[in-house]
Symmetry: C2
Subunit: 599 residues, 2 copies
């Protein structure tokens, strides 16, 4: 018994919501292993109302220790594990969407699992419960969806193991689902994550009270092993920094709890508490079953393998990772993004800055960010045009167009209907939003700043959170008709590689940049002997400019000759006077726009 | 029994080297806890010969699972745990140094520990063995040092827990040791590292065969718990990337080993093997004793606390961290460095790029780097001037002085005897090496590139591996007479902050930079309309320059006026002609040297 509570408890203990429903499938359920389950119970809950055309279904998939109770149904209901995301007015707004969440098979929260009665023996399955895969979980959920008379799901979403199920839905039922939102997930576990799971399972199996899984009749359950597995897993759910913030000030002041585990150090009693609490609400056989299913989920270890596994998917994708998540690190979400991009699927991606580690997707800290990404994405899907106002959405000082719209208008005029367009450094999506009018066949942005990715997404745009300097290799040869690099050249680290990549992935490139040989800039250096400076992108002092290079029109032309790049068109602008420059542009234009193609 | 061996085994199994010696201390040994051990055995080994003046002693401290057998004594000896570092011709060269390594008390490799016979009962101590601290380990080692008639130790070194002991030596016997080399160590564990240790100990203590530590008479030992603790610890010793490289290609091809632990996945059998092998050579009570000692080692969680604990140390320091070490991450070594710098102690630091994780200090991969750092440091200490030739030590293209020595000579001429000098961006240490002739009272370099830090160290210089943009806050107000920023200004990210910091930490600053208003550069932009370029630091193309800003002499003068910085002296050079410029320097000089002081 634990005396004292910690604030951060995410989950209830054993209680069951009175809103829990059960669906009994009275047939034979064939598993991926070939084994068959006679009858199947699926515990589930629903929120909101199914629309007449049944087009508003959101299926939420839970993580390893979750259950069907994703949120409160009413004020007097017990808390749900994702109350911050699901409910009236929440990002997954139950006023608009019909939300379904079911306990996975193999679990221990109502759906058939190792602690269920085996109809053929009258006793709990225990160790005889067959191996379950993520595919089996999805097949079971699909039975429920069929039972509810639903033909099409607007969105399947979940984090961690819930992300695995969401991805698996896209693979298994490509025609049934419109979209996936995968949070803090991956194509498969890293070997490090696998290793932690293995040690956890070994701890359970080596608990003498585990008795090879035959403990349901016994007085004592394998609580020590399960608690140790949970403690270990808990470390991997949070970040080094969040542990520091939580425990550094009270390092030697453990809370007074009753436990047989070590009570030194505040982090020690916290772990003891987490472990002890977990055994009250979870079944050891179920933990082994589910963690093994997680470990075997595998879309591949290379982009090509992942591509092969996602080839037949048809849905739109949103993937969200968290910077401090070291269990499902951002690079793993990016592997999925790379595969989807390379398959030319519709995908958005954001890596949210967070200190909370893997658990971030369950916590309030960053819910404003991933909540807004989720709600924008759902609204785009359901065709609701107007999105939420973002706080501080006023144009930032780094807005690429300042107050001058000439080169934006110019670039827009160069784009044609049905063009596939990639905008590198798309900022808050202003140019792409403008291009929506053009009926392009593809509009995609790349942006480094996650906050701007969220702003772009809120305009209903498809954006990938990535660094131009390293993130272009994910695109295929000639995947786009036009790639735009607007007023970004002067701050790019690796110019040669970037331009080479742009001309690999698109037929044409539109590159605009401020001209360093513009007359007033030249004169400033020549006559005054000072580092050139002029309102606009060269409006910084030598000591605080974010620009790292200073190309002139002539330099750029010579560069193209040297690299055998064809300049198809070029436009030179005096943005102050808002006019096109024909005569001696390298002297008279402050901005250049080049349309390039490869040799 | 494990059938198959893995290649990467670092440690032998239970065997003992025939060269092991024992020192029996026949008195009462008082522990930090107040407890007393009656008699004490210290198992130790020595290598090389003690010099006549006894000035060549290197004490090596082992990590948690190590022992006194640091290296082979002869070809037919069993392997040591640090053969790559200790031996004839090795970085800790036993032809020059007399190396001592002893098993820590509380251990199980010959020194008194929980499995030793308690003289007062005639039975093993078991759970009655008192709590041991790192201080106790050092006190015991000191008994051995006294016994060997040694009054002064040239260097105490070790990694991980061995680093803790080394640091503790500096605190406890400040007059007895000349230096510390601490590898992959810290001022204390992170809460994350603490958490892993706690889970490991819980696994041991909950093994029913542990019997609260009274298992020595029993047929079965708490092998499952100890193996699980070891598996878990092993995960933390290696990096995510090294696990990927080791296991990704054979993920589903576990080796055929005989074990009761889970045999799924290649990483699983590897862990099972590591765990199983460990119980053959280690004692569970000892593991608990030592890991608890590690957990309580604590120099503080803030720089000020660490400073307080290191205030009375008198030795020279070398700290080495490894980039992928997430158990003792580089930032923790840097905390110690910050404290030592702020205490004005002599300290060098290098963060070595490595994929190997915490174990890097035991592995061959990066031994060339940390071996050279170690040997250079030892040679500097023992006054041996000539250091090793470094491979590829020819001047690199980024050498700040190219072939021109004028501004180097100039800067040297501005430094006086007894000056305390800091060189920011010291590269391979050329300037500092030159300044040695000046008999300065302090010469310290800061350099971002770890390879250049190693080159500087090899010149016998004191260098800190750090980023100028963020690493100056560790220095105290007026800690130096002169700080030099030579030909680095143009590539600095945060100029304002850097100059502000320089003038905080030193009375005077010498800043040299290439002048962007030099006539040929002006003319190139003005007449040709091209981004200025000239042999030397502005000798790059606009698209591949590492420079990120382009100051002129006039700009810099105006900046000083604006920031109320006093220009005490200024020198302008035409480095091509090798002459000083008096007339219109902003037009005629390609290089400027400013001597600044604060207002």
């Amino acid at each position: 018994m634990v005396k004292e509570n910690y604030n951060s408890d995410l989950y209830r203990t054993g209680d069951t919501s009175k809103y829990l429903k059960n669906f009994l499938y009275d047939g034979k359920f064939k598993l991926q292993s070939g084994d068959i389950l006679d009858k199947l119970n699926i515990a589930y809950e629903t929120y909101g109302e199914l629309s007449k055309d049944k087009s508003n279904v959101v299926l939420v998939c839970h993580a390893i220790s979750g259950d069907s109770h994703v949120a409160k149904h009413s004020e007097d209901d017990i808390p749900g594990w994702w109350d911050i995301m699901v409910g009236p007015g929440r990002p997954i707004d139950t006023n608009n969407y019909f939300v379904i969440c079911s306990n996975v098979i193999g679990g221990c929260k109502g759906s058939t699992g190792p602690n269920s009665i085996n109809p053929s023996t009258g006793n709990p399955y225990g160790p005889d419960f067959p191996n379950i895969t993520v595919e089996d979980m999805v097949n079971a959920q699909n039975l429920l969806i069929d039972h509810l008379g639903i033909k099409s799901i607007l969105c399947v979403t979940g984090g961690s193991m819930g992300g695995f199920q969401s991805i698996q839905w896209a693979r298994q039922f490509p025609d049934k689902i419109k979209s996936v939102i995968g949070l803090a997930t991956s194509a498969r576990l890293t070997n490090q994550a696998l290793a932690f799971d293995i040690v956890g399972r070994n701890a359970i199996k080596k608990d003498p009270r585990f008795k090879e899984g035959n403990y349901y009749d016994a007085e004592e359950k394998p609580e020590d092993g399960l608690a140790i597995a949970r403690m270990l897993a808990h470390i991997t759910y949070v970040s080094k920094d969040s542990m520091k913030n939580k425990f550094d000030n009270t390092r030697y002041e453990p809370k007074e709890i009753t436990t047989e585990f070590e009570k030194r150090f505040s982090v020690g009693t916290y772990l003891a508490y987490q472990g002890t609490k977990f055994v009250d609400r979870f079944d050891a056989n179920s933990y082994i079953t589910l963690s093994t299913a997680v470990d075997y989920f595998d879309l591949g270890g290379t982009i090509n393998e992942i591509k092969n596994n996602l080839k037949k998917t048809k849905c739109e994708w949103l993937l969200v990772s968290f910077s401090s998540d070291w269990l499902y690190p951002p690079f793993q979400s990016e592997e999925i993004v790379d595969a989807l991009v390379s398959l030319d699927k519709s995908v958005s991606y954001c890596s949210i800055k967070s200190e909370a580690g893997h658990d971030a997707f369950l916590l309030e800290n960053e819910v404003e960010d991933y909540g807004l990404l989720t709600s924008s994405f759902l609204k785009k899907l359901s065709g609701k045009e107007k999105n939420d106002q973002i706080k501080n959405s006023s144009p930032t000082s780094t807005n690429i167009f300042f107050n001058n719209r000439l080169d934006l208008d110019f670039i827009c005029s160069l784009i044609e209907k049905n063009d596939r367009v990639l905008d590198l450094g798309c900022e808050d999506g202003k140019l792409l939003d403008e291009l929506k009018k053009k009926k392009c066949s593809k509009l995609l942005g790349v942006e480094l700043d996650s906050k701007k990715v969220i702003m772009s997404s809120n305009k209903g745009l498809e954006v990938i959170n990535s660094d131009i300097n390293t993130g272009l290799k994910r695109f295929n040869d000639d995947q786009f008709d036009i790639t735009i690099l607007s007023q970004t050249l002067q701050s790019i680290k690796n110019v040669e590689k970037t331009i080479e990549e742009i001309l690999r992935i698109s037929k044409k490139a539109i590159i605009s940049f401020p001209n360093f040989a513009f007359k007033p800039l030249r004169e400033m250096l020549y006559n005054q002997g000072k580092a050139p400076k002029l309102e606009g992108l060269y409006g910084y002092n030598w000591y605080n400019t974010p620009n790292r290079r200073f190309p002139t029109i002539l330099d750029f032309q010579e560069y193209c000759t040297y690299k055998k790049i064809i300049i198809k068109e070029s436009f030179y602008i005096d943005s102050e006077k808002d006019e096109l420059i024909k005569e001696n542009p390298n002297l008279n234009a402050d901005t250049a726009i080049f349309v390039l193609s490869k040799n």
